[in-house]
């Protein structure tokens, strides 16, 4: 007669998990009360809802050319300063860079008509003007992340005389080569109907796109791991910060979203040098300044195949392409980025600033 035996380890794990589940509210902060960002800054310039943040220096001597970071239009800029130990901004300040960062703000209904033209030729251009005036330089280095990388690329093409160096971190460039599920949705999307009916691209839709990216790893396993690590203060703190950041997605202005979907994902005009912004022709051949393209191999939001073509499309002879064995967020906010990505970027930028 066979005897049913329960493995004590499995029972122990189950009991631990139940205990963690019950005790989690006592051990972790309420996600919405978690504070993001730790590095000090001043709001140097403001226009409509856009703010230009100027971070306070952490070194006595600074690199001559200031660095302007163009954040993405999805989620908020806090990911660049999510945690002191993983802060992109803090690391650059410690390397002696003068760092400015654009917070695009939270668009409301009145911002529906803002498009690529306003983002590039008005907001970005005015920020560059402001920085040049304030720091007494003619050019700035621009780093753009994700969709911010696309904006920075378009800006550099239209205003090459204002850009000393361009750093494109996981930029959205070749929409047809993007193999992510986001691009699969975008390809068949009736963007005209959405913008004409709703106005801005609602955050709920962006959440849907997030939810279909690795739904089981990100939607199930991640939370089990969180509960299993509930006694690890650092893990819990970092987890809640990222979760809060993911949960704070602003709407995307309607006209910007319309051109984004049509020109980048559906018609793929940018890489073909056929895109127009504010009646001005955007050619990647105009990118004659030093260009550094950073790509994450495990990026499931902007696939490497979508970002890499930038490197081959520019006319610059001083260009660098780096592939990192990490993901979209891991490239900018992880211990890996602190140890590898940022030192390489700092070295590259210092040699050219």
């Amino acid at each position: 007669m066979s005897e049913n035996k329960f493995n004590p380890k499995i029972i122990g794990d189950f009991l631990n998990f139940s205990r963690n589940f019950t005790e989690a509210p006592m051990k972790a902060s309420v996600p919405h009360e978690v504070k993001l960002g730790s590095t000090q800054f001043d709001v140097a310039y403001k226009e409509d809802k856009m703010r230009l943040l100027h971070f306070k220096p952490l070194t006595s001597k600074q690199v001559r050319t200031p660095l302007l970071i163009s954040y993405a239009v999805v989620n908020r800029y806090h990911i660049f300063d999510i945690d002191p130990k993983k802060s992109w901004v803090k690391n650059l300040l410690e390397q002696g860079f003068d760092v400015y960062l654009i917070d695009w703000g939270t668009p409301s209904k009145i911002d529906k008509f803002l498009g690529f033209d306003e983002y590039v030729n008005r907001y970005l251009d005015n920020c560059v003007d402001f920085i040049c005036d304030e720091t007494n330089v003619d050019k700035v280095s621009i780093q753009g992340y994700c969709t911010g990388g696309t904006l920075a690329t378009v800006y550099s093409s239209l205003h090459p005389e204002r850009v000393k160096n361009l750093i494109a971190t996981a930029p959205v460039i070749d929409g047809w080569k993007d193999t992510t599920v986001v691009s699969n949705i975008a390809k068949y999307f009736d963007v005209d109907k959405l913008v004409d009916t709703v106005g801005n691209m609602p955050p709920e839709f962006i959440y849907f796109c997030f939810s279909i990216l690795k739904p089981f790893e990100q939607g199930v396993e991640k939370y089990i791991k969180f509960l299993n690590n509930i006694d690890n203060e650092k893990y819990v703190d970092s987890f809640l910060k990222i979760e809060k950041w993911l949960d704070e997605t602003p709407p995307i202005p309607g006209e910007l979203f319309r051109q984004w979907i049509k020109d980048i994902y559906q018609d793929n005009l940018l890489i073909q040098n056929k895109m127009y912004v504010g009646n001005k022709h955007v050619s990647l051949k105009n990118l004659n300044m030093p260009v550094f393209t950073q790509v994450a191999i495990g990026d499931h939001l902007v696939s490497p195949e979508c970002s890499m073509p930038l490197h081959y499309a520019v006319s610059s002879t001083d260009k660098t392409l780096k592939l990192y064995p990490t993901g979209h967020v891991g490239m900018i906010a992880s211990s890996f980025s602190q140890k590898t990505v940022l030192p390489e970027l700092g070295k590259w930028l210092k040699e050219r600033s």
Binding site: N7, I10, F113, N184, V198, F216
Partner: protein, 183 residues
């Protein structure tokens, strides 16, 4: 399909006929007695009736796309579960086995669902679902506009005109400022 369309046309025509008739029958007393929002509302009722009738077709379409959406999810779940079951016999029944089972489960489900979300059939159906939802929203907006008009309040379209005007003004100011700076 044709039958469905005939039924919709029948209800649409019936609704329009009676709303017109009622409006005509009641027009004399109302014009004599009312100039306020109720008078406006009664004359705009035809528009509301028309929007509601037209919405029927879209509700049916929306429902079909929604059913297909859940069917795709359910089919993928079933397929993934079958695949997990076929692999589970090869996993040893011990501590490591439980960990391996979890990994296999997540990997298979992840692959199957990513495959679905990456497919043309999912994208087409999902986008049709959103598109029909937006059609319904358009009708809802049209009905709300009628109500707003009746209450003498600005409609969505009128507010958007102001937004657009403001947007153009801001752009003009920005261009003026920039040309002034260059000069």
């Amino acid at each position: 399909m044709e039958n469905e369309s005939n039924i919709t046309d029948y209800y649409k025509k019936t609704a329009m006929f009676w709303s017109d008739m009622i409006a005509m029958m009641s027009s004399k007393p109302t014009t004599l007695s009312a100039v306020g929002p109720l008078r406006n509302l009664s004359s705009n009722l035809k528009k509301i009736t028309s929007e509601l009738t037209e919405a029927n077709k879209e509700i049916v379409e929306f429902n079909n796309f929604l059913i297909e959406y859940y069917k795709q999810l359910a089919d993928t779940w079933t397929g993934a579960q079958k695949e997990v079951s076929s692999r589970i016999t090869k996993i040893p029944q011990n501590e490591e086995g439980l960990e391996a089972y979890k990994r296999v489960w997540i990997d298979i489900f992840e692959n199957n669902f990513t495959g679905l979300f990456d497919s043309k059939k999912f994208s087409e159906n999902y986008n049709s679902l959103i598109s029909t939802e937006l059609d319904l929203l358009k009708r809802w907006n049209a009905i709300t506009d009628v109500m707003l008009k009746s209450a003498n309040l600005p409609t969505k379209e009128e507010i958007e005109e102001i937004y657009e005007e403001l947007h153009n003004l801001k752009n003009r100011i920005s261009k003026l400022e920039s040309s002034k700076k260059k000069a």
